[in-house]
């Protein structure tokens, strides 16, 4: 099998081949590094890359495999992650000038868990500055480019995670999602991305953006890959007191048989459709076809009050992000990109009373949402993107007005779900004018196993697995 063919295998396929010793981790890592070298000038997906360190990890993985067998289900697989997961002693920039030289004293729990499962770490991936931005622009490290069309945005804030995984330079990546930062880049780059239930995955050693909204999750090429990664990283963590103590789940083992007897709802109108282009609206209908091919009858669900949920989400996010950044806003305001500083400074004006009110009604709004939606269905199909990836040029914003017009509508469909704390899975469906189209599948709290099961069934029906960007 050629290097290119190897890199087009899924994470699970390649991990299983390593475990069977059909391919070595060194061969695979060399193939990844070769493609990274070739494609990075076009993509700019990496902030840092450690080729020598990666090859040393790969040699160690091959030695261990020969001596005692695989460390876990990710043994020897090259991964890389958004550059906000701390690794002790290694610079973690958070996509910013302010933390350009930041050397953490701890390693993120999720990175320790991936390492424990045998995964390799190639470097830090590009991201929006401090994870605040849904496009993939970055004034400090350069914009990240979409492998399907490098003139287009990747989506953000986990821009490099999506670009590298879609371009087949790595097999999957972790991202973080505060208002859509996993689901949006997954959608624009044609990947599966899951924002887990709040509390399912530890955030210890992860740069905070908005502490009550932040979630960590994988971006991957298949639902099975996402399931394997989520299984590795989820679960209680004494280092993160907000982490749930629910027992761990093997999400990959629960992909089959397909849960086709479950009720799937379809959102057909309401505030989430407000910014969708007519073409995207038609694409959303096209995306329902694989469900019908599976014999599933979609149940139309009246829209919950997403406008109210989004308003509450905005208050929480503004206050929490401004509180975290207040010292730097005072001391180093010019070290932020204008777009980021504008957003952060607005949060300084959120009254404490409004923040407390938004937090106080959160449980009730979740309760209402679950009653309105999940008494009628077990998972809800909803829009995730207003259109396929716009161009980088069309989404440049340096003023509040430009932000409102060009950037805000991008995360319109994703942000409310973070406030509710529910899990949501981005699933690519088909190409629209050569660019990926996708939707999100929203579940009950801790319903990740069902979402991934249904996502796995959907991608068998859609045939998306066989489609890759020409650049890759």
């Amino acid at each position: 099998m050629s290097a290119s063919e190897l890199l087009h295998l899924s994470l699970c396929e390649v991990a299983d081949r390593i475990a069977r010793r059909d391919v070595s981790s060194v061969e695979l890592t060399e193939a990844c590094l070769g493609r990274i070298e070739r494609l990075e000038p076009e993509l700019n997906a990496f902030i840092s890359l450690d080729p020598e360190g990666a090859l040393e990890q790969a040699r160690a993985a091959d030695r261990r495999l020969a001596a005692t067998g695989p460390a876990g289900r990710l043994h020897g697989v090259p991964l890389a992650h958004k550059d906000l997961f701390y690794r002790k002693g290694v610079v973690t920039t958070c996509g910013s000038r302010i933390r350009a030289d930041f050397v953490p004293e701890v390693t993120a729990t999720v990175l320790e868990r991936l390492q424990g499962a045998g995964a390799l770490h190639l470097g830090g991936l590009n991201m929006a500055e401090f994870a605040l931005g849904p496009t993939g622009h970055n004034e400090h490290f350069g914009d990240c480019h979409n492998p399907w069309d490098p003139t287009r945005i990747t989506g953000g804030s986990s821009s490099g995670s999506a670009a590298a995984t879609a371009a087949r330079t790595i097999f999957a990546a972790l991202g973080s999602d505060t208002g859509g930062s996993i689901r949006l880049p997954a959608a624009y780059c044609g990947l599966v991305g899951i924002k887990p239930t709040n509390g399912l995955v530890s955030r210890a050693g992860v740069m905070p953006l908005s502490q009550s909204l932040d979630c960590v999750g994988p971006l991957a090429r298949t639902a099975r890959d996402a399931a394997r990664l989520l299984t590795a990283i989820a679960g209680a963590d004494p280092e993160d007191p907000t982490c749930s103590t629910r027992p761990g789940v093997d999400y990959e083992a629960m992909l089959d048989p397909p849960a086709l007897d479950r009720r799937i709802g379809l959102l057909v109108d309401g505030p989430l459709f407000r910014h969708m282009t007519p073409a995207a609206r038609r694409a959303y209908e096209v995306a329902t076809q694989p469900w019908l091919d599976l014999g599933i009858e979609l149940i139309p669900i009246p829209s919950p009050d997403f406008a109210a949920i989004a308003a509450a989400a905005a208050v929480v996010m503004q206050a929490e992000t401004a509180a975290f950044h207040r010292p730097w806003l005072a001391e180093r305001p010019d070290d932020y990109a204008p777009q980021v500083r504008i957003r952060l400074e607005t949060g300084l004006d959120v009254p404490a009373v409004a923040y407390l009110e938004a937090m106080a009604v959160r449980g009730r709004m979740l309760d209402d949402f679950c009653r309105e939606v999940f008494e009628r269905c077990d998972a809800l199909v909803a829009p995730v993107m207003r259109s396929p990836a716009p161009t980088i040029e069309a989404t440049v914003a340096r003023t509040a007005d430009e932000l409102r017009e060009r950037v805000m509508p991008i995360s319109h469909c994703t942000r409310p779900i973070n406030y509710l704390g529910l899990p949501s899975l981005t699933l690519p469906s088909h190409l629209e004018d050569g660019l990926p189209f996708a939707f999100q599948l929203i579940g009950r709290p801790f319903g990740e196993a069902l979402l991934l099961n249904l996502g796995h069934a959907y991608e068998q029906a859609s045939g998306w697995r066989r489609i890759a960007p020409a650049l890759a």
């Binding site: 629960m254 932000l403 196993a449 069902l450």
Partner: protein, 51 residues
């Protein structure tokens, strides 16, 4: 419009949150606490998939 929900529209979001709170009535409840949200996630959790 408040349904855009982001930093540059803080004023609209702030106005809207007041309306939301009023819509729940004036009676405060013991569960009107941030920690209640985490408990609510647990209470509303998806039953495990049958294998």
């Amino acid at each position: 419009m408040a349904d855009d929900g982001d930093a540059v529209i803080a004023a609209e979001a702030l106005k809207r949150i007041g309306e939301i709170v009023r819509s729940f009535g004036t009676t405060r409840r013991l569960d009107d606490e941030p920690a209640h949200h985490a408990k609510m996630l647990d209470r509303l959790a998806e039953p495990e998939l049958e294998r």
